[in-house]
């Protein structure tokens, strides 16, 4: 069963990508977003080779130097080169977001599918739990969890995941409820197929598009939340270069007008989050036929 689903999904996504550009604005949104994300991820992977200085080495230059020929992005208060920190600072963010998306997919999707398909008491119980988490200020809950679990990438990812699973649950549930009523699902039931098959071959393939959309938005949110958590002191330990930490550290330097310490890392966070949001926006327009005229 596993291989069949993978094959059917792959066979759909590959041709989809190829036919993107003639899909007008939506296609461009996706392509532009994907390029943005691609560049940043690639930059991060090869950063050890291209970064002019060792990102965590301190006093490589005079502290708080404005951008100049030697340090194109200037230096921060510890004399670290901002450019190399920017090049390699995305690692934490990406790890956290990827991990949290995976946790959400592994937990949220099967839960959403089975609970909404089964219906009855189980569904109502899960709904109640999910709605109460969903109604909760995401960041605040993440803070509470992160504060309890302590620092570290996995903890951050977990706290973001817990906050984000309800949105998967809600999206999947609304999709499943509408698809469950469709005649082709009823026809499958009428033909006597077991509910497991109906769920995996009839309902899941039609829900996948919206899961992908939620995943991209989840990516963007995870990045922003991770930055937020770091900003309020729940981030990762100091020695690993991280945009979130640069921003937090930079805030103290604001009165002195050292804008470059926070500008560049902040910009990178925006670009990364923007990339994912663009993909999400493009996909939702593509898959929402009503908007296509």
């Amino acid at each position: 069963m596993k291989s069949k689903i993978k094959r059917s999904m792959l066979s759909k996504i590959l041709p989809g990508l190829v036919s993107l550009e003639k899909r007008g604005l939506a296609g461009w949104l996706i392509i532009f977003g994907a390029i943005l994300v691609g560049i940043i991820v690639a930059m991060n992977l090869i950063s050890p080779w291209i970064a002019p200085y060792n990102p965590s080495a301190i006093n490589v230059g005079q502290p708080l130097l404005p951008p100049n020929s030697q340090f194109r992005f200037g230096t921060n208060d510890l004399g670290q080169d901002v450019l190399s920190r920017v090049l390699s600072g995305g690692g934490i963010m990406l790890q956290v977001s990827i991990l949290s998306v995976i946790v959400c997919l592994v937990v949220g999707v099967p839960l959403g599918l089975s609970s909404s398909y089964a219906g009855g008491v189980i569904d109502r119980v899960f709904c109640l739990i999910m709605d109460s988490i969903y109604a909760f200020p995401g960041l605040v809950l993440a803070i509470a969890i992160a504060a309890m679990l302590g620092r570290g990438v996995t903890n951050m990812a977990l706290s973001i995941a817990v906050v984000y699973i309800p949105s998967y649950f809600r999206v999947i549930r609304s999709q499943v409820l509408s698809i469950k009523e469709m005649p082709y699902v009823e026809a499958a039931n009428a033909a006597g197929s077991r509910s497991r098959t109906v769920l995996l071959r009839y309902i899941l393939p039609n829900v996948v598009p919206s899961i992908v959309i939620v995943a991209t938005v989840n990516f963007a949110d995870a990045i922003l939340t991770a930055a937020g958590l770091t900003f309020i002191g729940l981030g990762v330990s100091v020695d690993i270069p991280d945009w979130g930490w640069d921003l937090t550290n930079g805030q103290r330097l604001l009165p002195s007008g050292a804008w470059w310490v926070i500008a560049y890392p902040g910009l990178m966070i925006i670009l990364l989050a923007l990339g994912f949001t663009l993909i999400g926006e493009g996909l939702s327009e593509l898959l929402n036929p009503r908007l296509e005229q």
Binding site: K12, M182, P183, Y184, A187, N189, A190, G192, Y202, N206
Partner: protein, 340 residues
């Protein structure tokens, strides 16, 4: 030809399907306050005590306006939804409470075709897989054998060349072609009984007849029996052997096609027939005067449920709910004043 053993097609008089006092009540969704304040539960009486039987090889039509319970009856028979009460017999075996394996076997012999060609096929599945999937479910055929059977059945429903259609997705087919694919899917298990829920109402007029003729040919070829559900009496006249007119969850008149159209007894049937547009400019005719609108199925008027709209309504109609009584052989009417 299909290598299945040819079922000798005898138009035996024994009934393939029998329905006794079938009822299906849907609880009305109560608003927040109502849930708190009132204890009473009101119901939509979609199907209210319906009984009829279908003879083997026949096209039995359930006709009526929207909301009269015809579609719900169809879904009850195919066991998509459980009945509130009443019994259903298939080849004299009660299937109302059938469970597990026995139910799955039954599902091989009763199939359903839906109204909306655009939604009755899984958009993410090739036509070949969709039509072949029932075979997989019942483990009747695997890969090569399955593909052969699928190609054959596609030819039967007129989707030729079937090699081309097998690998297409639903959105690459027209409405008529999709309905044919849905029929192929219901036929691949060689069922004996098909519930066709408004199969042609969403298809262009010019193509409608092709689908109807296809259904009639398949009936001859595979000895099928149809329960045909429609709101369009003109099509009903063309395709059916016997017709049951339904109103607000009950059968008000039942008989073979000729008698229903030549000598309609129930005032509602008369009104229905007079309202059907006839493609002939010369013929100016009077439409029966019906008062008001169909009452809601939640609070059905006591006694005869049609009396609020019936010209001939009398005091007597208020007390007793008229039974479906035979007026002549094979012609039943649910109206005490029918003889007048």
């Amino acid at each position: 030809m299909l290598p299945i053993q040819r079922r000798e097609k005898t138009v035996s008089q024994n009934d393939i399907l029998k329905v006794e006092d079938l009822k299906k009540y849907f609880p009305v969704e109560k608003s927040f306050l109502e849930k708190m304040l009132t204890r009473s539960r009101s119901y939509v009486k979609a199907v209210d005590n319906v009984s009829f039987s279908v003879r083997k090889g026949e096209v039995f039509t359930l006709a009526g306006e929207s909301g009269c319970g015809k579609t719900t009856t169809g879904r009850l028979i195919v066991r998509l939804i459980p009945p509130t009460s009443g019994k259903i017999f298939f080849e004299n075996v009660e299937i109302t409470a059938l469970k597990g394996e026995a139910l799955r076997v039954l599902k091989r012999r009763i199939q359903i075709i839906f109204q909306d060609p655009y939604a009755s096929l899984n958009p993410r599945m090739k036509i070949g897989d969709a039509v072949g999937h029932p075979l997989e479910i019942h483990g009747l055929a695997r890969n090569e054998e399955k593909r052969k059977r699928v190609l054959q059945i596609l030819e039967h429903v007129g989707l030729t060349p079937s090699e081309k259609f097998v690998d297409l997705y639903p959105h690459q087919l027209s409405g008529g072609q999709r309905q044919r694919a849905a029929m192929a899917r219901s036929l691949v298990l060689q069922p004996e009984f098909i519930v066709a829920d408004e199969p042609v109402s969403m298809i262009d007029v010019s193509l409608r007849t092709a689908i109807i003729d296809l259904m009639l040919n398949l009936r001859k070829e595979f000895g099928l029996t149809y329960l045909f559900i429609t709101h369009d009496l003109a099509i009903a006249k063309y395709i059916s052997d016997r017709i049951a007119i339904m109103y607000l969850g009950k059968i008000v008149e039942l008989g073979d096609k000729q008698t229903i159209f030549s000598n309609p007894m129930h005032p509602y049937t008369q009104a229905l027939l007079s309202a059907i547009p006839v493609p002939n400019p010369e013929r100016k005719r009077k439409t029966a005067e019906l008062i008001g609108d169909v009452p809601s199925a939640i609070n059905i008027p006591p006694g005869c449920r049609f009396r609020t709209r019936c010209e001939y309504a009398e005091e007597a109609c208020k007390e007793k709910e008229p039974e479906l009584i035979p007026v002549s052989p094979d012609h039943y009417v649910a109206c005490d004043l029918a003889e007048k």
